[in-house]
Amino acid sequence: MEKITVNGKAFNVKTSLADVSLAEYNKYMSVFRKKYEYQFEQYCDLLLCISDMTVEDIEDLHIDKLKELAQTISIESFTEDDKSFYSRIEVEVNGTWYKSSSDGLTYNYTTKEMILLKDDISKKHIVDVEVLAAVVFKKLDADKNVIRDYSPKGVQVRAKELSSIPMSILAPYLLELGKYIKQETASNEPTA
């Protein structure tokens, strides 16, 4: 988190994945898909996602500072710790526990999970991290057994339940998914 002052007023700007929830990350990434006539407008929208500033406050920022703050959250900014599955296997939200089948070293998506995610990506043209979390983290029942519910409704409900967890928890899963999507994109590219 970075604290900045504009016109005598103090604001918080989220600068790491641990500060940003899944819902905020989705909103932030969706800005990159929009078309803008002016770059300033895009930076403005990005900063609105990750800070408590208003448009008027942003307009008073120096353009270089605006650009620097707006682009702090990206795949390139993921740290070494963001790549580790260790301590990102279980998560608790409002008293309910969710667990992934990661062994702490990696996560092997099943074919069913990959199909589910690719289906979702093909519709939205973006990785919806709330859906990703719902696929990866399954609810535990009273006996601490994993409930594998891949139904559309089940995934939708879990996505909403997990939307408030920090993006830092999901980071390694997103990077792992990225390996398969990138491989497929590379193999679909035309050869000379």
Binding site: Y109, T110, T111, E113, M114, I115, K118, D119, S122
Partner: protein
């Protein structure tokens, strides 16, 4: 997996027909389509492939890579079916025109869908030979058993029979090249051929010929059989038993010498 086919020799004709009945366009993702294909080929429930890890699935994809190519092995001379042995009859020049027309129809319609029927025409029983040292083997004549025998090929490996369709298509190309004058019946339309001074009677005759040519293209083999039957003074059914080359030679002669119908 219940089975792991390594090549087309491990896939039956029935499985081959089944995988080609699945339309890729019905699946938005390649993985969904592949799961259906792999399920048929390995006789394993689709859920098995959904539950494996994705890295494992990519290895399975590699193991089934042979299905990207058609079977290329030469056809077996002899195959074993539930009803006994059948032998390859691939001397196409000795086929009758009726057999040829049926083969044309089933190949044009869909080789994959009709593979079993096509095999019934190519693989026949041998007739008893009183003395193999004196007489060549004779194959049973063509009959109306093609639909009856189709299921005999369900369990035959597709890799050992598919090659006969390739051989047939190669022969077909040569045949049509040799008899191109007979099959290229429709002349190209050209205003240069029209005499600007042609009379009304000549114009009527020209239009009549053009209409006949269009009908020839429409009725194809039926028209050829009709002409053959008229020449031989036989029924259409009877002329279908005429040897293919003899029939084509008769028709070519009629056309070249402009003999009337």
């Amino acid at each position: 997996m219940n089975q792991q086919p390594k090549s087309w020799n491990d896939v039956s004709v029935a499985q081959y027909k089944e995988i080609y009945s699945i339309d890729r366009g019905d699946y938005n993702l390649m993985e969904k389509y592949q799961i259906q294909i792999f399920s048929i080929l390995s006789d394993t429930e689709p859920e098995y492939f959904e539950d494996v890890s994705y890295p494992e699935f990519t290895k399975i994809q590699e193991s089934f890579s042979f299905i990207q190519y058609k079977p290329t092995r030469p056809p077996s001379q002899k195959i074993l079916t539930p009803a006994g042995e059948l032998f390859l009859y691939d001397d196409f020049k000795k086929y009758t025109i009726g057999e040829w027309i049926d083969l044309e129809h089933f190949h044009k319609d869909s080789i994959e869908e009709n593979l079993g029927i096509i095999c019934t025409i190519f693989y026949r029983q041998l007739l008893p030979n009183p003395n193999p040292l004196l007489f060549t083997n004779k194959y049973e004549p063509y009959g109306d058993w093609i639909y009856l025998r189709e299921s005999l090929f369900d369990s035959v490996p597709v890799g050992i029979v598919y090659g006969i369709t390739t051989k047939f298509l190669e022969f077909r190309e040569t045949l049509y090249a040799d008899y191109s004058g007979l099959f290229d019946d429709v002349p190209e339309e050209s205003d240069d051929d029209i005499d600007p001074n042609e009379s009304i009677i000549e114009k009527a005759k020209r239009i009549q010929e053009e209409q006949k040519d269009k009908l020839s293209e429409k009725w194809g083999w039926d028209l050829l059989l009709y002409r053959l039957a008229k020449m031989e003074n036989k029924s259409i059914q009877e002329v279908t038993g005429m040897p293919l080359i003899q029939a084509l030679n008769m028709l070519s002669m009629k056309k070249e010498m402009k003999l009337p119908d």
